[in-house]
């Protein structure tokens, strides 16, 4: 059986990219104490709006911009539900996911009535031909800019401290003159924008086309990764790499004659099992942010 290591690494990076963008987005919102289950829908929205805008304008950049705007709006909407109205975060998130996906698919149906549109122009791969470096710029930015930036912001800026305070204790934040509402809105809007970019990566960079169910559960994986990482950036990236690496590996193994007998489904399950295993190995009890799932309203 032959494993092409370079190709493996290359594939791992590509598969991990949307997880890194969306995962860090989720991480930011959860740092503020909001479990954002609308991630799946927000990624879908990003993928669709990104595609739509790119298809209409002919420029993937416009598409990306549109995706970001869409993400911000989705985040604001989630904020309206869980911050302004203080609704249950589980239902709000899942409900928003259902809503966003329905809206996208409805619009897609109205506009394309069942045919399979593709973009004239999508983001191209840099260093085409090199198996490892041949990645989209969003991949480079995701790993080399976004992750370090997120880490730095959360760790050593006032914004990071505010997020931390709000996420751990409303009262403390409030008494310190930090607006719980504003902080959570910002976290949600920024985080959701990142999720949308993660989704848009699929249509604007990977595929250059949109099909239904394009996100197919990647959002849920991100939720798991964030908790797996205990709300820290680098472990989240690591988690994404573990998941993606296993996935890339199974893709290669699946077509080697050595694994002929092994059912493909087992191979496909490996990434999920890998994350659980990783958690089981490195896993002591997780401590949720103090204001996780809670809504705050002054008397």
């Amino acid at each position: 059986m032959s494993i092409n290591l370079l190709a493996l690494i290359g594939a791992m990076l590509t598969i991990a990219t949307p997880l890194v963008w969306a995962g860090i987005g989720e991480l930011i919102t959860e740092r503020s104490g909001v479990l954002n289950l609308s991630i799946e829908g927000t990624m879908y929205l990003g993928a669709f709006i990104g595609f739509l805008a790119a298809a209409r304008s002919g420029s993937p950049w416009i598409g990306l911009l549109a995706a970001v705007v869409g993400g911000v709006l989705a985040g604001a909407l989630m904020g309206f539900f869980v911050v302004t109205l203080g609704l249950n975060q589980h239902v709000s998130g899942l409900g928003l996911t259902l809503l966003l996906i329905a809206i996208c698919e409805f619009t897609f149906r109205l506009l394309y009535a069942g045919d399979r549109p593709t973009l004239d122009d999508k983001f191209r791969v840099l260093f085409r031909g090199n198996e490892v470096l041949g990645q989209h710029w969003l991949t480079y930015v995701g790993f080399l800019v976004l992750a370090p930036a997120a880490w730095w912001v959360l760790r050593s800026t006032g914004l990071g401290m505010r997020l931390h305070a709000v996420g751990e204790s409303f009262e403390a934040a409030d008494v310190a003159g930090i607006s719980v509402t504003a902080t959570r809105y910002v976290a949600l809007m920024v985080g959701s924008a990142l999720m949308a970019i993660g989704g848009a990566f699929l249509t604007l960079a990977v595929l250059g086309s949109f099909t239904l169910d394009i996100v197919s559960g990647r959002g849920w994986v991100c939720i798991a990764l964030v908790i797996f990482a205990r709300w820290r950036v680098w472990p989240a990236v690591l988690g994404a790499l573990i998941f993606a690496g296993t996935d890339a590996l199974q893709l290669q193994l699946a077509i080697t004659s050595a694994f002929d007998g092994v059912p493909g489904e087992l191979m496909l399950a490996l990434p999920y099992l890998a994350v659980i295993a990783a958690l089981a190995i490195g896993g002591r009890t997780v401590r949720y942010p103090g204001s996780y799932l809670k809504a705050y309203r002054r008397a």
Binding site: A7, R116, T256
Partner: protein
């Protein structure tokens, strides 16, 4: 649900005028799924030709939704025939069909017709599959070809197996690698699978599912499309596509709709020789180009298929993940 969904109150409405037969399309998956998309396209075409009135509902994903929908339509919408796919809801469909014996039911199905009114069809693309296999085999330099399919179900298996046989004809010592993404929609996964094929040495791909063409384009290698002519998705890389024409099947059903319901296997209507399927025009300015003698070879077999002197063998067994065609 309809594409644009013209307003309607029960019987009337739909496209075309009153006296035309009303054919109802009932789909388990969204129309965007290529398989049901092909049926929808054919019916829409028939409607546009002014031969039928056409209404449809899609995404009846569970068998109980399917049963409810069918009964609702058969009882209240006065359809002259119902076309759809019964996969994963075989029993439900047959149950309702039995309740309405004078309405013809024609369903994509892996099982047999049932008297008096339940006909079945399927997409029998083994012929174009075989031909495209020949092309792929003729074009590969590395003698390695990659296929990315949805899941190992009969309709997919027989296409893949026919493709492999075609490869063997033009490249006797090639290896064909097959991977499944276990989903009708996950183009991103399909693309990753395709890239795994490429990194394993494949230099020609068969895109049974969406996503593969993008990979081929990036790797700058030729690829075979599926269901509709996907040439425009990557003009420089799509050699050809397997095309399913539902129209002959639809016409047969229209006959039933205007005449008597029957219980027949309409599978034949998907065969190439009756125009139920075809190989899209071969794109000779694809990357690497297509040698004329290869084209000639393919045309020859095609002719043989059309005049019935050659029939592609049908094999529905799940293919191995790595096939040495010489052992086939």
């Amino acid at each position: 649900g309809g594409a644009t969904g013209e307003e309607s109150d029960g019987g009337s409405g739909g496209s075309g005028s009153e006296d035309l037969p009303l054919i109802y399309g009932v789909y388990a998956t969204p129309l965007e799924e290529p398989w049901d998309g092909a049926i929808h396209a054919a019916l829409q075409e028939a409607a546009d030709d002014g031969e039928i009135r056409y209404k449809h509902v899609d995404d009846l994903s569970t068998s109980d939704a399917m049963e409810r929908g069918l009964r609702d339509i058969a009882a209240n919408e006065e359809p002259d025939a119902i076309i759809g796919d019964a996969f994963a809801a075989e029993e439900a469909v047959r149950k309702v069909a039995a309740e309405f014996p004078d309405i013809p039911f024609a369903f994509g199905s892996g099982e047999k017709p049932v008297e008096p009114n339940m006909s079945v069809f399927d997409n029998w693309l083994q012929d174009p599959a075989y031909l495209s296999g020949m092309l792929a085999g003729g074009m590969t330099k590395s003698d390695t070809i990659g296929i990315v399919g949805a899941m190992p179900i009969p309709e997919v298996n027989r296409i893949v197996n026919a493709f492999v046989l075609g490869v063997k004809e033009t490249s006797p010592k090639a290896t064909v690698k097959v991977s499944f993404i276990n989903s009708f929609f996950d183009p991103a996964a399909a693309k990753q699978a395709a890239q795994a094929h490429i990194s394993a040495g494949a230099d020609v791909l068969f895109a049974e599912r969406d996503g593969v063409i993008a990979a081929a384009e990036e790797a700058d290698i030729p690829v075979v499309g599926m269901m509709v002519d996907q040439h425009d998705e990557a003009p420089g890389h799509v050699i050809t596509s397997l095309i399913w024409h539902m129209r002959p099947t639809v016409d047969a059903v229209i006959e039933q709709a205007t005449g008597e319901p029957q219980a027949v296997d309409l599978g034949e209507f998907s065969f190439m020789k009756v125009g139920g399927s075809e190989l899209a025009e071969i794109n000779t300015d694809v990357v690497g180009g297509v040698p004329d003698e290869l084209v000639a070879k393919v045309e020859k077999v095609k002719a043989a298929i059309m005049d019935g002197s050659f029939t592609t063998p049908v094999d529905e067994a799940a293919p191995a993940s790595s096939i040495d065609v010489s052992k086939k």
